[in-house]
């Protein structure tokens, strides 16, 4: 009763202030954040779209004017762009599959109450995620994968094998491995958070009914992970589309164009070829690719917000 009375007093006061000024207050509160993001994200995006239809090259100042769809046509005709597009897809899909498989395995492992010190073990296993991408690249390309002095080379020699120059002979699989090491903890932590929500008695009941560990996992645990897995796929897709630091320090997009993904291609177009028009057209393709995933993700977030409200 008391709270209802209070609420109605507040409501009355808000009504007295008037709808217009209430809206004004809300705008003053949210406005700065919205305007900030608008200026820093949407305005530049509009400029990218504009540049993508312009002749614009930093080392050819006389080359100006409308380009029509020439930049898009040139980018699509560029074999390097096509390979960058394919590399992006390979990097995203392969890393997705591996991080989810390992992440799921690790999550189930650390969710097991019989594991001694599992919180500390989990924290150590989660560590790669907090390492700078640039340092991740350095650790792997030098200390681990260097064909002469790297730890893996020593291991290979110890096994009587000829050391492999991973980044030169298998550039993309090596890069996928590096990304997987860095991002498996993300999948693990998200899935672990969801796993701890699976009721213990449900699992016990399944055990009493004679279900083995695999059957319990398959029919009780996995169905509960449907939504989190779906979310991890989309979130990681968006994060993997923009991988840059690891490539920059390990392979610089090579050998040749073997590990050049879209961000790296656009970076090369802009800062090696100084072709702003082509870089912008390439960027639009990256944005479109990200949006395909983002639509599903936003829809999922929206339904979650609606359920909670």
């Amino acid at each position: 009763m008391a709270t209802r009375a209070i609420r109605s007093t507040v409501k009355t006061r808000q009504r007295q202030l008037g709808k217009a000024s209430q809206g004004m207050i809300s705008f003053l509160l949210i406005g700065p954040a919205v305007v900030y993001l608008f200026v820093w994200m949407l305005v530049p995006l509009a400029m990218t779209i504009y540049y993508s239809f312009r002749n614009y090259n930093l080392i050819r100042p006389t080359f100006t004017g409308w380009a029509g769809i020439a930049n898009y046509a040139n980018v699509l005709a560029d074999p390097d762009f096509l390979s960058a597009f394919i590399n992006t897809l390979v990097l995203v899909v392969a890393s997705l599959i591996l991080t989810i498989l390992f992440g799921l395995f690790f999550a189930v492992l650390y969710n097991n109450e019989h594991v001694f010190g599992r919180n500390i073990l989990r924290t150590f296993a989660a560590s790669p995620f907090f390492i700078m991408p640039v340092v991740t690249g350095l650790i792997w390309s030098n200390l681990m994968m260097n064909p002469s002095f790297g730890l893996l080379a020593a291991l290979w020699r110890g096994l009587g094998l000829v050391p492999i120059d991973f980044l030169a002979q298998f550039p993309m699989p090596s890069l996928v491995g590096i990304v997987t090491w860095q991002w498996t903890p993300f999948a693990m932590l998200v899935l672990l958070a969801s796993l701890s929500g699976v009721p213990e008695d449900l699992k016990e009941a399944a055990g009493l009914d004679g279900a083995g560990a695999w059957k319990t996992f398959r029919h009780i645990v996995l169905p509960q992970l449907g939504r989190p897995l779906y979310a991890v796929v989309m979130l990681e897709s968006i994060f993997f589309l923009v991988i840059f630091g690891q490539i920059y320090v390990t392979t610089s997009g090579g050998p040749g164009t073997a590990t050049t993904n879209l961000p790296y291609y656009i970076y090369l177009q802009a800062f090696s070829a100084y072709n702003i028009g082509a870089a912008s057209a390439g960027a639009i393709f990256a944005v479109i690719l990200a949006n395909i995933v983002a639509i599903f993700l936003v829809r999922m977030i929206y339904s979650n917000i609606q359920e909670e409200a």
Binding site: H114, F124, F130, V134, A270
Partner: protein, 274 residues
Amino acid sequence: MNKMSWPGKIGVNLLAWLVSILMFFPIFWLILSSFKTNALAAAREPAFIFSPTMASYVNALVNSNYWHYALNSVYTAVGSTLLCVVLGVPAAYSMAFRRSKRTDFTLLWMLSTKMLPAVGVLVPIYIVYKNLHLLDSALGLTLIYTAMNLPIVVWLLYTYFKDVPGEILEAAEIDGASLVDNIVRIVTPLALPGIISTGLLAIVLAWNEAFWAINITNVHGATLSVFVSGFKSARGQFWANMSAASTLSVLPILVAGWFTQRQLVRGLTFGAVK
């Protein structure tokens, strides 16, 4: 699950320990290498036991420009995080306590800007920065990191503010508290642990950022990401120096990261996982 057999228990324990050791090993090896001499760090036979030297740390801290880059990292990470909190607290307050029809749309729109790939806005920001003389400046990087982290900060603050009971605010309003009082004196102190862990996550994300740092800074405003990437062509040379510089760059943030695991899941999933 409770009736696990003895061999089973030993098996999962061994597996769990093995996984942790394998995942952490590259980091351990980096730290170990930082205490070696440059020659030993790149020895063909990996050395596990050796007499440690601090030479590479002395080199990094005294003879190199480490502090210049480290200060830029602190400036950009802390500066952008403070700006995010200043912009984010009022916005999240409004979303949590002054809901309207537009609230959900605004929140979703903010989150969706986080899904825009950075390369989509790289070229215009580079060109505008060039004209405004913000290229290679820590200020320019700070302003971008603010835009990069703001959606995550607003989202996290919104989820923490929702846990503050609305009745407290209403009671305060009856007592004549103004809107500013509500935000500064009531919601902020009550949600302080949430605000701090949100800030910590924003610092971790800005500190580790590489794409913008490499593309729009070079020396003056460059962060540790740029400093460390200078070692990228060290093929067997200066590995101890590289390891010491890397360890100094990642260790504080690794420890901070350990404490933000939960916020990390909450913040980077944007509410897609409940």
